[in-house]
Amino acid sequence: MIDPLVLVQVMMVYLYPLLLGRSLALMVRKGSHPREFMGGVLNIPGYAAVGTLVIFGLAMLIRFGLMKLVPVNFGAVFFPVSAMLITASIMINLAEGWKNRKKVTKTLQKVFWPIVLTVITAMVSYGIWTHKSPYPLNWDYNQHQQLVRLIRQGQFDYFASNLSDTFGFNSYPPIFHLLIALGQFPMALNPQYVVSFWQINGLIHLVTVGLSTYILAYTLSRHKWVGILAMIMGVLSFDGLVSMTSLFFLPQTLAAVLFAWFMAKILAAYDGEVRVLGGEWLAVMAVLMLMHYMVGGLAAAVILGTEGYRRISAAKPRWLPGLLVGGAIVGLTITVFLMSGNLNFAQINQGEAKEYVAAWGEKAEAVERTWGYLAYILIPLGMVYAVVQKKRSYRVSLLVLFGLVLVTLSQVPYAMKVMTLTRFLITTYMALGIYCLGQYIGNKVIRGLVVGLTVIVSMAILISGSLYWKTEIRFLGLDSHIGADDIAGAQALFQMMEGKRYLLISDPTTQFFLEGMSGADSIGGQYMKAENRQKLIAAWKNGQMSGLVGAAREMNDGIGGEVRGRFLAISGRTFAWLQKPEAEQMSFTHNLWAPIDLAADDYNIVHEVANQAGLVPIYQSKSLVIFQVN
């Protein structure tokens, strides 16, 4: 069951920046409106980007301006000021909407059916995905939620690693987390709420993926049929290797939605349908960069290149655009060549990066798990169609597709993350591939059959892919990373802490999800440092439980600060982790993806731990025991 209040809060994560940005645009752009392609829906990324920058700017101003001058709590200023700005922006938008209600109605009529179809398709897709999975399968949400919680508690910094040691590597400032913190405000961030929020935001994110796919495909082709087909193949598919675009709400996947939507506007501008304002161009690029340095940075580079070329291509003298583009390519090539010897990609993210270099065969497998052979068959057909059209927007989109595919295929760590951008053009070109032949079908029933068959084939591939993806997470009738015991254990922690800082010591996986749900500060969670891992393993292997309790009293995270108390959690996963080979014990990527019950042998050990002085059990179940360490 979807909690309507949580649903509204999830939607507010998108609507707050959008309304804020739009109200600012309304204030600046007075007077007549230019002709707006698709009723102005292509302006949405610009509005959202401006609103996001305002929110981020406000946070930075408070943290590095006001807080340097006056001793105030970040949250005590940020949330009330944001609430005022957002309330004002809602009023401005409502007033403008009422004033231009005829235009608003017209716009809604234009986009009503695409939205309805996208929502229905997303609900079917998410229904399939969440079958037997009542809790979020988005593993990374645990670390994102912890950062959101810290923001709620009044902590903010440009570098996420200064706030939480679960972020060992700074891939972005907490801009994504500010938006979520505003969406979740003022709810108590208890485990039930957190789990519910992230389960629902998967659905809403899927809807935005569907809408941006539709808009990109429709804008490029000017055929609703292409938009619908692309949306179907975008929403009823999951790129489950590294990129996780459609079903997981993450900084890079949010950046990808923004990219696809704004790319549509640039392509429309190539065909002279819209005007891209310099301000929105810069705002979108800035937000993309800040949202995710790698994926967003690449997206920003594509946006810079495509819109930049569009702007200079009209310049005089006529040789200037060629010189600039040629110079940029040569410059980029020389830069990459000079830097390549000094870049040790494998060491990115404390060495995690080397686990994310996929061979071409693995990448082909990932594509086939997502779309079968559809991508191989339909994209060439779509390309043929695009080339025949002789439109600038098609040529530019083809260049972007080629470029992104090349980066995706490269042997750089995390290259598969780029699939999160590439997939929007892949689904667009697959839809064009069907349209290439389907445009000659005159009978509407037969066209409907083509759409129906596309739905059935996409669903079959999605289900098969979901079965594959969930194969390692079956536990007591559910396909889940967590069980009811984990949520109950997190709830016990949440109640004990009363908003104060407590350290949580356990195996990396148990720490990771308990931290995300409860807010107990782990000593690194999944990204626990090697030194702490070795210390914990040594304490366990020593056999003296007093040593383990001693370690739990001494271990610290890399952040420091006052600690109110400590918890020691022991789960079935703890024993499974201890039984793993050393390389896997030390790895960030070998997690225990599903809950594990305790066994009879484990009981003796847990019992021995429980008998240590100063330990108070606060939660116990068949899979998890948590002690307060005094």
Partner: protein, 272 residues
Amino acid sequence: MITLLKWAKDFLLLLLISAFLLVGLWGVRLPFRSVFGEAGPYQLQAFENGLAFFHYGRGVTPFWNISPLNDYVVSEEGTRSALLASKIFDQKQYKAKFTLEKPEGIAEAVKAYFGRVTPWYTMETEDLMAVYETQKQGNDWLIQKTVTWKEPQEVASQGITLWYYGSDVVFDGATLQAFTQADSETLDKIKAWYGFAITPMDKEEWTPALSSGVVKIINPTRPGVLTVKALPGQELWVNRAYRLLEAVEVVNRKVTSLKSTLLVTGEEGGDI
């Protein structure tokens, strides 16, 4: 005529697009695991040598096999023969099917996702074919074995078996009498965790004949309890020499085909 031609063109295009979409579907990668089911903390899946209950995610785990390598028939002369002789297995002179294969595997994968397909295993030698099908009823798994011979056989009895692990504690589900050796520390741990006291095995050479028809298995290093129950017409035996639980049925006739069923239940058990 023109309308007819338009229909024909539309229909041909539909066929062409359908063919592209179906070839696209053909390219989907099927899951690397064969179909699996679950019983409490255990999973049931088919492997090269038969079906097995096991724990997923706990590293090296015991596999409680139901396999043609152990299942047997006894001839009129009293000769016990495995359905799949180890020599034939080692020399790979048999064919086993247990994984999803295209094209029907695509539909099977879709059905498996919604729990509409349960694990199966098929094995064929020169002499016979053994088909293992499964059915889930709550936490109970019914493993139904059908053996079909190419030539009629005189069969006195048959056994369907579950292979247990060396460190398992195997005991009578009714009397809690152990059938395997276990030290007192292990039995104490089981008592503390599962809440019942197992009576240690008193004589090493004791051969159990079960009247209760219920045998339970606990591996102290793994969570959960596996229970094997005799069905009507079956006698349950513990074969310690080969570490087998055997559900034995009297046949005493000439047959070309025989069916047999093993009932296995997996439960969580245990509490702090």
